[in-house]
């Protein structure tokens, strides 16, 4: 028998263990591949969605009239690539559909909006334009647009027409980017858990094969040869089993991502989520590397780390590192500085946690009775000897706590973001060449209409303490004017404000600035800023800072009454709730006062529901994967805990020999295991809360210039604690079964040696 066959004979005797190892590799690969695919595609989807929104343009008539089929025919005859886009708003729950002409879209090539669905025309949401027309004839609202490719220049457009941006939905902007950080963090977490999973099963195997290794050494086989053979064994096993893992991971990504993609496409009318093939080589290489690191890194590297050898000096090393890391995160200069600070905190926590928990476990035990003393000492040993899985579970729970808080906060923020941007049920664009004041006068005299206001947008320059126009220090920002200031805006979240801020804004006694501008310029409520409105220069106090949820540009909000006639308004619209009136009636009235046939009216409600759909699906996926990851992290600790408890089984059996009943021994095991895992959950809590704070209050502002509100969810903390206790309970049940199987052979003296003090 060769050394190789002697090693492999273990799996002949324990085929289930080989199966468990294979299963762990497959599951770990599946999980990581699935998450990394989802993250990649979510990032690509959001990027494409922004491109889809930003990249489209349409042709409109110079006279303000709505475009018609005749316009389409005329423009095509002029040789222009034009595509009809008939948006039909059906009553809920059917919602919006878009009629397109597949033949007309051919000249767009692969860039045609909704191209992926144009071919199928399955009505979700694209259908043939003839069917869409039929819906309009049956009474649904229809809005025809004529899209042209983005490369069409203004001088190529026939007279009587002009180019105009074509927006198909709200841009997610920085909110989406920020959310991707969340997914990236999840990817790192999954990789960590993956490594732990494989390591736990591998260690279980090593424990069971220890006697075989001892025999081989006695037979003269060098330890290095055994190591090399074990390495080859793991490479071979991993190489075989990652393949189905990758395939299953992609399947998982497709299943979870399908719904996500569908909603994205519905919202942005573009093929945004296509899970492509991708290669097998990169995921396979990553997984083999992770597996080898997880199984063999401690042979050379981790063994040298003081936290594994349990030297007391780790406290003297860990405390300053923790202080340094916390300080670096509290006062970050750059994003890189911040990440180094976070890494230092994690390293220090990893070093200190086992020691601190061990100390706490023994604290005050000296005066206790013999059994209590044993319990506390044994627990202290467990914390030190299980340092790696304890710290890993602590990190996993902390990251899950942080991600959960982030996801929930994102959900809440996104809701408020939508609420702010789509505050009214409808908005109506004021046609160019028309006077907004006519519409305002019409609405003011209309009985039964709900809340409404006029929005006027333009540009302005602000200077902190204006002593005359100082162009060198002025900053160009967006100007956002609302009149009248009413219930549609007074519900906005103000991050900071002076008393009666809305009243002061409404009466022109102050301005508000968005979070981005306040952060960049350091504006505080009460501080006077100067700004220009056309020819006019004003100096007014900041009365409030409003949350803007990731809008990257600075903005100043003023009451419409202070806008001078000379102000260059770039865009005007009316936001309104129809109240007791039908929207069609208001639309007709406004069309009449503005002397136009067709108004651009957007149904904010349907946009809101579509946008919510996208994020709901994304949050659902993140939660599902987070829970799955946590369950696997728990399994990892369960297996590693079980492995370690197994090495001490003889000593727990001694309790039985010394006269404790099986029930009493089981009780002791239960106490130890549940206290161990419960303490891990408790230790993870401050780290998780701190990580949440670091993500929302430090990373986000530095990376994107805005911050999410910090929120904590004690209910979820409780769930984590219960989960950890269940893991501990499971360990004790497994151990009880193990002890009941018969008198185990005593562990070798060197196995129990070290780490006991």
């Amino acid at each position: 028998m060769t050394v190789c066959s002697a090693l492999l004979s273990h799996y002949r005797r324990h085929p289930l263990q080989l199966l468990a190892l294979a299963l762990m590799i497959v599951l770990a690969t599946m999980l990581w591949t699935g998450v990394s695919h989802l993250t990649d595609h979510a990032r690509a989807s959001l990027a494409q969605s922004e491109q889809a929104i930003a990249g489209q343009q349409q042709l409109v008539r110079e006279d303000g009239q709505a475009v018609s089929v005749q316009d389409f025919a005329y423009l095509r005859r002029q040789g222009l690539c034009v595509m009809p886009w008939l948006e039909v708003q059906r009553p809920p729950p059917e919602g919006r559909v878009i009629g397109v002409d597949p033949f007309a879209s051919a000249c767009f090539g692969s860039d045609a909006p909704g191209q992926a669905r144009v071919d199928a025309l399955n009505g979700e949401p694209f259908l043939d334009i003839a069917e869409a027309k039929a819906m309009v004839r049956q009474g649904s609202n229809g809005d025809l647009s004529l899209l042209v490719p983005v490369d069409v220049e203004a001088d190529a457009v026939p007279a009587d027409y002009r180019l105009k941006d074509f927006s198909m939905g709200p841009a997610t902007g920085e909110l989406g980017e920020s959310f991707l950080l969340n997914l990236d963090a999840l990817g790192v977490l999954v990789l960590l858990i993956t490594a732990l999973l494989v390591r736990s099963v591998y260690q279980l195997g090593l424990v069971q094969r220890r006697e075989s290794f001892t025999l081989l050494r006695r037979f003269g086989v060098p330890a290095t040869r055994v190591q090399v053979l074990l390495l080859i064994e793991m490479v071979a096993l991993t190489s075989v089993w990652v393949i189905p893992g990758i395939w299953l991971g992609r399947l998982l990504a497709e299943i979870l991502g399908g719904g996500f993609g569908q909603v994205l496409e519905s919202l942005f009318d573009a093929p945004l989520y296509a899970v492509d093939g991708g290669g097998f080589v990169l995921p396979a290489l990553v997984m083999v590397t992770v597996v080898l690191l997880a199984c063999f890194a401690d042979k050379r590297l981790l063994r040298r780390l003081p936290w594994l050898s349990g030297r007391p000096s780790v406290v003297w090393f860990g405390v300053p590192v923790l202080g340094l890391g916390l300080a670096m995160v509290a006062w970050p200069f750059t994003l890189g500085w911040l990440f180094v600070g976070i890494a230092l905190v994690f390293v220090a926590v990893g070093l200190l946690t086992p020691r601190v928990l061990s100390y706490v476990a023994q604290w005050g035990a000296e005066g206790a009775g013999a059994i209590t003393l044993w319990q506390r000492r044994e627990l202290a040993v467990l914390f030190r000897r299980l340092a790696l899985p304890v710290v890993a579970l602590q990190f996993a729970v902390a990251m899950v706590l942080a991600i959960q808080a982030l996801v929930t906060t994102f959900e809440d923020t996104f809701e408020r973001w939508l609420g702010q941007r789509l505050e009214a049920e409808f908005y109506v664009e004021v046609p160019e060449q028309s006077a907004a004041v006519d519409g305002v006068r019409y609405l003011a005299g209309l009985s039964g209409v709900g809340d409404w206001h006029l929005v006027q947008r333009g540009k302005t320059h602000v200077v902190p303490e204006m002593a005359g126009d100082d162009a060198a220090t002025s900053v160009e920002v967006d100007l956002f004017s609302i009149s009248p200031i009413g219930p549609l805006v007074t519900g906005w979240t103000l991050l900071d404000a002076i008393p009666d801020a809305w009243e002061k804004l409404a009466t022109g006694q102050g301005v508000m600035v968005n979070e981005q501008l306040a952060r960049r310029q350091g504006y505080q409520p009460g501080e006077t800023i100067g700004f220009t409105l056309g020819e006019q220069s004003l100096a007014l106090p900041v009365v409030g800072v409003y949350a803007d949820y990731g809008r990257p540009d600075g903005e100043i909000l003023v009451a419409g009454q202070i806008l001078p006639e000379t102000f260059n308004t770039r865009f005007q619209s009316l936001s309104l709730n129809p109240g007791t009136l039908a929207m069609a009636e208001i639309e007709q009235g406004l069309a009449a006062v503005w002397n136009t046939d067709q108004l651009t009216v957007r149904d904010n409600g349907s946009i809101r529901s579509l946008a919510s759909g996208v994020f709901d699906q994304t949050f659902l996926i993140t939660r599902a994967i987070t829970v799955l990851t946590l369950v696997l992290a728990g399994t990892s600790l369960l297996i590693m805990g079980w492995v370690f408890f197994t090495t001490r089984a003889w000593y727990y059996r001694l309790l039985f020999v010394w006269g404790l009943s099986p029930r009493e021994v089981a009780g002791q095991l239960r106490w130890l295991a549940m206290f161990l895992t419960g303490a891990v959950a408790v230790a993870a809590l401050p780290l998780g809360v701190w990580l949440t704070w670091a993500l929302v209050s430090r990373i986000n502002p530095l990376a994107f210039g805005w911050s999410l509100p910090m929120a904590v969810y004690p209910g979820f903390w409780l769930e984590m604690l219960v989960l950890c206790l269940v893991i501990g309970l499971a360990i004790s049940v497994l151990m009880r079964r193990q002890l009941g199987a018969g008198v185990p052979a005593p562990a070798m003296a060197n196995v129990a040696g070290g780490g006991e003090r």
């Binding site: 013999a370 040993v381 003889w650 020999v657 009493e664 003296a749």
Partner: protein, 224 residues
């Protein structure tokens, strides 16, 4: 009539090796009174450890009965039987294995205290027992900080601190050098005689066996 300390009647024990039943011992009976010692001798695998385990309730015989003091056990694996055995082991039966008799997370003194506490004895005597066995100065050390002989002395201290009626020792000196082994067994017999408890000693060592008042040779290999 005063009952014996230990009486075993018609004990039978079989294992299965593959599909083959292997008989460890058949119709084995023995009796031990206070102050007596019994050496179990025999080749490896002859069933010495199995018999010791049966005599303290760690394993169950296939048939037969065991009586320790006034507790009689005739088969049965119910919770009440287990509790009766556990109570006997806690207070009346001291068990010493070849090695690993101590909790590694406790000092030698704390190990002795734990055993005494479980037996309901006074913890104040524990340091004395370590002194008597010559390892008093090592009381604060942990098992992995002392030699194998010192660990076995500590194990004996634990047994005597519980003031047992019966000591079961399974090759207690098997892992020790001859000089240390003689020293440890000398103390074992000395203390056993002084305290008048029963001693059953499983050993390969014929010379050691001669120091016991009775012998039981399980010398044959198990029969298939």
């Amino acid at each position: 009539m005063v009952a014996s300390l230990l009486t075993a009647r018609d004990l039978n024990k079989q294992f299965r090796s593959g599909n083959q039943p292997v008989s460890v011992f058949r119709n084995l009976s023995l009796q031990l009174d206070r102050g007596e010692s019994l050496a179990l001798v025999g080749r490896s695998g002859s069933g010495k450890s199995t018999l010791l385990n049966i005599l303290c309730g760690l394993e169950k015989p296939d048939t037969g009965s065991v009586q320790v003091l006034d507790e009689v056990f005739e088969g049965g694996t119910d919770r009440q039987t287990e509790a009766r055995w556990a109570n006997l082991r806690r207070q009346q039966i001291g068990v010493v294995f070849q090695e690993a008799n101590l909790m590694p997370a406790l000092s030698l003194l704390d190990n002795v205290r734990l055993r005494a506490r479980l037996a309901g004895q006074n913890e104040d005597d524990c340091r004395d027992w370590l002194e008597r066995l010559g390892i008093g100065e090592l009381a604060g050390r942990y098992p992995d900080q002392v030699s194998g002989g010192q660990r076995q002395r500590a194990a004996l201290a634990m047994v005597f601190a519980m003031k047992p009626a019966l000591i079961l020792a399974d090759e207690p000196t098997g892992s020790l050098d001859r000089h240390t082994a003689e020293d440890v067994t000398g103390q074992l017999f000395d203390l056993q005689a002084r305290h008048g408890c029963g001693l059953i000693l499983a050993t390969h060592d014929a010379e050691l066996a001669t120091r016991c008042s009775h012998h039981l040779d399980l010398g044959h290999l198990p029969e298939t």
